[in-house]
């Protein structure tokens, strides 16, 4: 069968640094094609060349049998390529309808937008995704998951021949993922091709036909997914041998060691309540311990983290820090007390995109770096250089704007930001989300090393294997309340899933 899309020999460099060299990609009509690779492997760059965001330096692109002359996202859409980008690219202030219909609104007399029809069509499109919401309300008033589905709905509604999905499931829960898969399968049946980029390898086996692997700006592998194993894919991504990885386990964690000598108590929370989404939360965190917070999207995990870090005001209960009764009223008090909080939403709450790696890394540290009212530049550079090396942050130099780094490397910078304050307590909310396999292991290793040095970690992760292998104890939450606590060693993914499923059953 003739390929719908063929990209070959694609080169691209940014400011002299090569991002792609001879990358290639081929997608057949009606195929769901996976694209995998570590962060920085060049997947996003390749997609952005395909969609006209970037211009290629060299290589050939043919789409639908013709040489492609796509130079802007608009031309890509006109050619039949719809894209859902990894970072949500919609306009939260505007209504759902506008976000779905923007640029393609139904018109009266060719000029005036027919809002009634626009709302109706939007409702219809969303209904196919099982979403029933007020389409006139601002998109930003809905959850990230809904926003993600709206982005997908927009792309699908554009009658595309190729739909590109970059990490579409990273903010969806299990049932929403099912809805998405239904849509993907529907597209395939309608003869539409899907390019599916994901770090969740399990998903690929469920819905993809072929998988292309990229590493260091090159295409290294393309195979049918049937007959492949997860291990083979990881090996191809990392450029390592499959057997080696099997022996070393799937994560860098080695299971918990609860019951061993627990260190000093860093933090106790009693009956902490901040509202309907967090009620009567209790926990005790010791030095050198990882406590996992388990639960589904919206179970209250992030709320617990925010309460402990002093972001949300307590409406009930107490938090004691190192035995002192004073809770942390503000984030700056929390930082003062040796707390670090790596937030879930890297783009909105973590990085400052236009600032350099150096500036992003030392933001929380500036008070400590100040000498006689001036920032000690030499000390700052020394520190930054240390962390870039220690965490293996891939950056041209420390003055590079952080927005130019891959997601995994951005996350490492944020992690370094908190490590640099020499914390006693680290709250990590989805530390490896949107991060490729290699960087994921590196980040896990960094967390493990910190714990060994006596840091207490509160770990929130939607990836069961990470939390099961990583945490000493897992506090399972549902609808803002603690439902059970599991203790390692002995926790299995099955046990965690059972705990979640059990509580879901109770709630229903």
């Amino acid at each position: 069968m003739a390929e719908l899309l063929s990209m070959s020999g694609i080169d691209k460099a940014f400011a002299g640094v090569s991002a792609l060299s001879g990358a290639s990609l081929e997608i057949a009509p009606g195929e769901v094609h996976a694209l995998i690779g570590q962060n920085g492997a060049g997947k996003s760059t390749l997609i952005k060349i395909l969609t006209g965001v970037y211009r290629r330096d060299g290589g050939v692109v043919t789409f639908g049998g013709k040489d492609s002359v796509i130079n802007s996202p608009r031309e890509a859409q006109a050619a039949g390529i719809a894209t859902i980008y990894q970072e949500l690219n919609l306009v939260p202030l505007r209504s759902v309808t506008e976000n779905v219909m923007m640029g393609y609104e139904p018109k009266r007399l060719g000029v005036f937008i027919n809002w009634r029809e626009a709302h109706r069509r939007t409702r219809e499109i969303l209904a196919r995704f099982g979403i029933d919401i007020d389409v006139r309300a601002p998109l930003g008033s809905y959850s990230t998951a809904i926003q993600q589905l709206v982005a997908i709905a927009r792309a699908v509604s554009l009658d595309a021949r190729l739909v590109i999905m970059d990490e579409p499931t990273s903010s969806l829960d299990a049932s929403e993922v099912e809805v998405l898969f239904g849509v993907v399968k529907g597209l395939r049946e309608a003869g539409v091709s899907v390019l599916y980029v994901s770090h969740f390898l399990d998903e690929l086996f469920e819905i993809c036909d072929r998988v292309t692997t990229m590493r260091d700006g090159r295409t290294v592998d393309c195979r049918d997914i049937a007959g492949s194993t997860k291990l083979e894919l990881i090996a191809a991504m990392l450029g390592r041998d499959a057997d080696d990885i099997e022996q070393a386990g799937m994560t860098e964690f080695s299971g918990g060691t609860a019951g061993a000598d627990l260190g000093e108590v860093l933090l106790t929370a009693e009956n902490v309540t901040t509202g309907p989404r967090l009620t009567d939360f209790d926990m005790t965190l010791h030095r050198g311990e990882i406590i996992g917070l388990g639960g589904l999207l919206g179970a209250g995990r992030t709320e617990a983290a925010r309460a402990i870090f002093g972001v949300d005001r307590l409406t009930g209960g107490r938090i004691n820090v190192k035995g002192e009764a004073s809770g942390l009223e503000t984030p700056s008090a929390a930082i003062e007390a040796g707390f670090g909080y790596l937030t879930e939403d890297r783009k909105a709450e973590g990085i400052i995109p236009d600032m350099s790696v150096r500036e992003n890394l030392t933001l929380a540290l500036l008070p400590k770096l100040t000498k006689n009212g001036q920032i000690d530049r030499a000390r700052e550079r020394e520190l930054v250089a240390h962390y870039i090396k220690a965490l293996g942050i891939k950056t041209a130099n420390m003055e590079q704007p952080i927005r130019e780094l891959s997601g995994g490397n951005q996350q490492k910078v944020l992690l370094a930001r908190w490590l640099a304050i020499d914390p006693d307590v680290l709250i990590l909310d989805e530390p490896t989300r949107g991060v490729d396999v290699g960087a994921k292991r590196e980040i896990q290793a960094i967390i493990r090393d910190s714990v060994a040095k006596g840091v207490g970690v509160i770990l929130i992760s939607s990836e069961f294997e990470e939390i099961v292998e990583g945490a000493d104890r897992i506090i399972v939450l549902n609808e803002g309340r603690i439902v059970t606590e599991l203790t390692n060693p002995g926790i299995t993914e099955d046990a965690l899933v059972r705990a979640l499923a059990h509580t879901e059953g109770q709630a229903a």
């Binding site: 690219n89 306009v91 202030l93 640029g103 609104e105 000029v111 005036f112 809002w115 009634r116 927009r154």
Partner: protein, 333 residues
Amino acid sequence: MLDTDAFDLRKYLSQNPQSVAVWVALVALILFGVLRYENFGGAYNFTSFLNYNSMFIIISVGMCFVIMTGGIDLSVGSVAAFTSVVAAYLSPYGLEVALPIAVLAGAAFGAINAFCIIVMRIPPFIATLATMLGAKGGALVISGAETISVDWGSNFTRMGMETALNILPWSIVLVGAVIVVLWFVLEKTTLGRTVLAIGGGADASVLMGLKVNRATAFVYLLSGACAGLAGVILASGFGAGQPLEGIGWELSAIASVVVGGTLLTGGMGSVTATVAGALLLGLVFNILNFENGRGTISFSAYWQMVIRGGFLFAVILFQARVTSGRAARKAQT
């Protein structure tokens, strides 16, 4: 967002909480004025008030579009001064020549702004600051720093001084018509929605395939043209091109836009609420003049400014409370 066929006030207010304050304040001030001063509600005060404020209203509406994209246009006051001189020079040829050319001159300054911002990638604040100085200098150069009297023999001054159908001055009718058209553009066209989308997320708008550059160019051209029209109204209403006028107009316009609930960062805004904001600002002065007219208290022009500032502050504070109150209630349900 007025996107229904029937106008429903409750729905409008619940969807535009940020605009509630300006309407409440406007109604309250009008009631206060009507009850307290004898001639406040009279036809003379009504038309002269609108006549004088039509310049500020049209500039504010142009500014509103710029601010909705997340930009700013500081050049409007200087451009209005410049075009008032242009219009005065052209007044012997009649309104049909002077008006379009002066508006085009204003749009030309807008085109310079758009070029600097879109092609040269200069931040709007800097680009329009430069145009502000340039237009101000230009106005002084072409006028020799003197007011240029208009030709009273032509039909030029009819616009500001004669009424349409014996009801409203032509300038008000014209400004009203422009506002209606712009309201349609914002609420009913892709261009208007693109303006809002840019302010809500410029990168996202590009990736959604919207014509971002075209819409950005449009708002600066529009703002320049609105300033050009304000210059014509200035010249015809006062009988002279005034190169020294326009100082601080950009700030009044920004204040009107903000009081109307438009976000300074863009992405949200309303033409009608901006008009209300401009009216509100003018009304504070109007009422202070009436108060002085009663003779019991006398506010100097300086005190009037202080009072206006205080009033603005109160409205914005109220607006913030209304908005956050609603957000909190919404979050609980």
